[in-house]
């Protein structure tokens, strides 16, 4: 490893003062990716917690591993291509902006780049994957000033863009998952293999009164967005995120709890519109959204009370969209709506807390 460090040190002047000065952010990102930064504390506290943003983001990737594995298993090698394209396109936008702004490259896109392909239909043309993620990172994040300042979850912005711009392709790119024991681990299946294309996801079928079996949904052998089909894999990763406190449990419990409650009531009142609660909980992108998308700390409220409200709002809106509108799936819109409300919720909570603080001490 010493050799690598020496290489970095040897080329540093080129990036710091030399010809490649413009690419300094790229160089720094690479260096600090391989080697922990050499900065030390100058004032108290003299020691720091080992957790940094890189690690935090890696935890999300680790938590996604079960879902990624499931998507490989059910939808084949094409997922590899989608992930690579997503990283390449999203990374390019991030790097360009870092260079233009002369700021550091942030780790945020590591997560966005991984989340994005997982919430897409598995047979989507690759150029659309690239376009979507670039749009998401550009509009959803960079225009707001980069990681930490974005209002919306960039991956969801990208997906929302694709479903508004290319609704036909989006809804014609679902794959029937492999039902073989070996899965599709060694197959590359895309839109050209017509026999694998499926017409509809379980949620769409449910609108016509046809419910996929719950066990298939738990396991993941149903049609749907690449990483969203296997409930067990998502819950596994999600619980890991909660235990490591990367995701806040309040948001997750708020979403799933309110969804179950309102869904239960509405199922009782309108059984023809709203299906059974447990089935709905495992259907579509709800679990994935609740554990991985809504819990993004930047675009969710920061106060605990705000997180509860935000979660409840997303849960309720999802039920309503699924049951009473033309759309079959409502998680994306619900979370984006939640993102819009997050700063407002925070502002209200903060106003109350500041008023309470006024008389302290």
């Amino acid at each position: 490893m010493k050799v690598l460090l020496k290489v970095f040190e040897a080329v540093r002047p080129t990036f710091e003062q030399g010809k490649l000065k413009a690419f300094k952010p790229l160089y720094e990102a690479m260096e600090n990716f391989f080697f922990a930064p050499s900065t030390t504390t100058t004032t108290a506290p003299h020691v720091r917690d080992p957790l940094d943003v890189k690690r935090l983001m890696s935890m999300v990737i680790i938590a996604l591993l079960p879902s990624i594995a499931a998507s490989f298993y059910f939808f084949g090698l094409r997922m590899v291509a989608m992930i690579i394209v997503s990283y390449a396109a999203g990374g390019a936008v991030e790097v360009i902006f870092a260079i233009v702004r002369k700021e550091n490259i942030n780790e945020g896109f590591l997560v966005t780049g991984m989340l994005f392909p997982l919430i897409l239909p598995p047979a989507l043309p690759l150029w659309m994957v690239g376009l979507g993620v670039a749009f998401g990172v550009f509009v959803g994040k960079e225009l707001f000033g980069g990681t930490g300042r974005n209002l919306f979850n960039p991956a969801l912005v990208g997906r929302c863009f694709l479903s508004l711009a290319y609704p036909k392709t989006m809804s014609a790119s679902w794959l029937e998952p492999s039902r073989d024991l070996a899965g599709r681990l060694l197959q590359y299946v895309d839109a050209s293999s017509v026999d694998a294309l499926s017409s509809a996801t379980p949620l769409a079928l449910a609108k016509q009164g046809e419910f996929a079996s719950l066990s298939h949904q738990l396991f993941g052998s149903v049609s749907g967005s690449a990483g969203e089909t296997s409930a067990i894999a998502i819950i596994l990763g999600g619980v890991f995120l909660l235990l490591t406190r990367v995701a806040n449990w309040r948001t997750v419990v708020g979403i799933l709890g309110s969804f179950a409650l309102l869904g239960g009531v509405l199922h009782y009142a309108h059984p023809e519109k709203v299906g059974p609660v447990l089935w709905h909980l495992c259907a579509g992108g709800l679990l994935f959204g609740a554990f991985f998308m809504a819990t993004d700390p930047v675009s969710s409220p920061i106060s605990n009370a705000g997180k509860w409200c935000y979660g409840i709002m997303i849960g309720c809106v999802t039920v309503l969209i699924r049951g009473f509108t033309g759309y079959v799936e409502g998680v994306t819109f619900a979370i984006l709506l939640g993102n819009i409300f997050a700063p407002i919720l925070d502002e209200m909570v903060i106003a109350v807390r500041i008023r309470r603080l006024r008389s302290e001490g």
Binding site: A36, D52, V246, I354
Partner: protein
């Protein structure tokens, strides 16, 4: 806080029925000092810094080359009620030898004496009675420097009367001298000191803060105090920084507007006893030496001005280490120019400098690093003391709103919010968000994954706000004066007319 420990915490809070505390977190650093107090060899030269955290001893009362006795007043701090700097040993005073220090050469342990003027004592007795004498003794014999204003941390006015005194024997920061080490064999002095403190009050309460643990020592202390109806025992969990007096004062419901609250630690009570019961100057300090790279961390019996080099030679074996005056979370680094211990030193903490850059550090399992959020494998392990370095352990990033800082903050404010206001230069909002309640414990900076130096930002912001407020006050006073003058000239003119 994990759910379990939270429930446990809530339960103990209820059982004790005392104060309700927020946040807090224990940073487990290797090298915790034992409670034994070791004697250090007598130094031949003492280097007394003229500045410490609160004091600036600018009014010198000795001359170059003069011989002093132990207990003589060397200088005073005119801005802090004339708190003196006492000579811990007899010897020859050198003022110019080392800038910023008074050096005592040929230091010798001689009979110490109380440097008090008889006439002044008489005068005081006539003016203010016994209470006045006591206060005078506390200041002149060097006990007053152990008194704090609970909210501001400043030196309180010795002539004032507080609404309460908070006595804390818990020292939870790693590492400063702990109460149990100082109270060894000195319980009697401690209780006598408490009585002396009580004699300064009329009916105001004394709160004695101690850890809510069942140890032999704490039980002994409880039994000793039981008979004192005027001492209210407050038990706190052993979690940093719940021993902080500003936090305690707030949680005890003592309002700042109802008058000053005095706070003293163990050493302050012992000093009170020494000054008032024995009328002897307080020259000795119990200082801890701990951290990583320390030979058998312990408590040391030393005096202000004790050469740091002698301590280092005996105790510190790590060559590239940072020496910190105070604890790891709030202490100040001691540079090469610091030769002797200052009078406020409570502990020295040693921390190795970061040397190696780790390869792919962020994907390591991390069995040996303990993390607030539990993002490393070590969260499967029982709590352990970690080997820290001065490394920042990550790159600075914009705030990602994880709210860890708010969770650990004992003051109940929102560090991330204040940080965002500061970023946008909204000083008024920063004031509204009560940055003044920050007790500078440093936990927010410690946990922040974006490595934002929140504590330092808040210290600067507080100073800025304080300065602005003072300017405003001055401006108001000036205007008022002008108005008065105008009114005066007017009335004169009218008279003339």
């Amino acid at each position: 806080m994990s759910v379990l420990s939270w429930i446990e915490f809530e339960a103990t809070e209820k059982r004790k029925g005392t104060v309700k505390l927020k946040g807090g977190y224990n940073v487990l650093l290797q090298g915790r000092p034992e409670s034994t107090v070791r004697l250090m060899p007598e130094p031949s030269v003492l280097y007394l810094p003229l500045r410490s955290k609160r004091f600036a001893f600018s009014e010198l009362s000795v001359k170059e080359g003069e011989y002093v006795n132990a207990g003589d007043i060397l200088a005073r701090d005119p801005d802090n009620f004339g708190v003196p700097l006492l000579a811990p040993r007899g010897g020859k005073v050198r003022l110019e030898k080392v800038p910023g220090h008074i050096v005592i050469e040929d230091a010798a342990k001689v009979q110490e004496h109380a440097d008090m003027a008889e006439e002044e004592l008489l005068h005081l007795e006539q003016e203010m009675g016994a209470g006045g004498i006591k206060r005078y003794k506390l200041v002149t014999l060097g006990a007053w420097e152990f008194f704090y204003d609970a909210y501001t941390g400043a030196v309180p006015d010795p002539l004032g009367t507080p609404q309460a005194i908070i006595v804390s024997i818990a020292s939870l920061e790693p590492f400063v001298a702990r109460g149990d080490a100082q109270l060894r064999n000195r319980l009697l002095n401690f209780t006598r000191g408490l009585e002396q403190l009580q004699s300064l009050l009329e009916y105001q309460p004394i709160y004695l803060v101690m850890p809510d643990v069942e140890s032999e020592f704490v039980n002994l202390l409880r039994n000793h105090i039981r008979g004192y109806a005027w001492v209210k025992i407050v038990e706190i969990p052993l979690r940093y920084p719940h021993d902080h007096v500003a936090i305690l004062a707030r949680r005890l419901g003592l309002k700042r507007s109802n008058g000053p609250i005095w706070a003293v630690r163990t050493e302050g009570v012992l000093a009170t006893d020494r000054a008032l019961t024995l009328t002897k100057p307080c020259l000795i300090r119990i200082v801890s030496i701990g951290g990583i790279g320390v030979n058998s961390p312990a408590h040391l019996n030393v005096m202000p001005g004790y050469p740091i080099k002698m301590i280092k030679e005996r105790y510190v074996f790590e060559p590239a280490a940072r020496l910190i005056n105070g604890g790891i979370l709030t202490g100040e680094p001691l540079g090469a120019e610091a030769l002797g211990l200052d009078t406020e030193c409570r502990g020295l903490t040693v921390l190795p400098e970061l040397e190696d850059r780790e390869f792919l550090g962020f994907i390591r399992p991390g069995w040996d690093r303990s993390c607030y959020a539990g993002c490393f494998l070590s969260s499967l392990r029982v709590k352990f003391h970690e080997r820290f370095t001065t490394g920042m352990r990550g790159e600075g990033r914009p705030c990602i709103s994880c709210s860890f800082c708010e969770d650990v903050c004992p003051a109940g404010i929102m560090p991330h919010l204040i940080h965002k206001y500061l970023y946008r230069d909204l000083i008024e909002e920063v004031d509204m968000a009560r940055v003044d309640l920050c007790v500078e414990c440093g936990l927010c900076s410690f946990v922040c994954p974006s490595k934002i130096d929140l504590r330092q930002q808040f210290i600067d912001a507080k100073a800025l706000i304080e300065q602005e407020k003072q300017e405003l006050r001055k401006e108001q006073e000036r205007q008022e004066k002008e108005r008065e003058e105008q009114a005066a000239t007017k009335s004169v003119e009218e008279k003339d007319a």
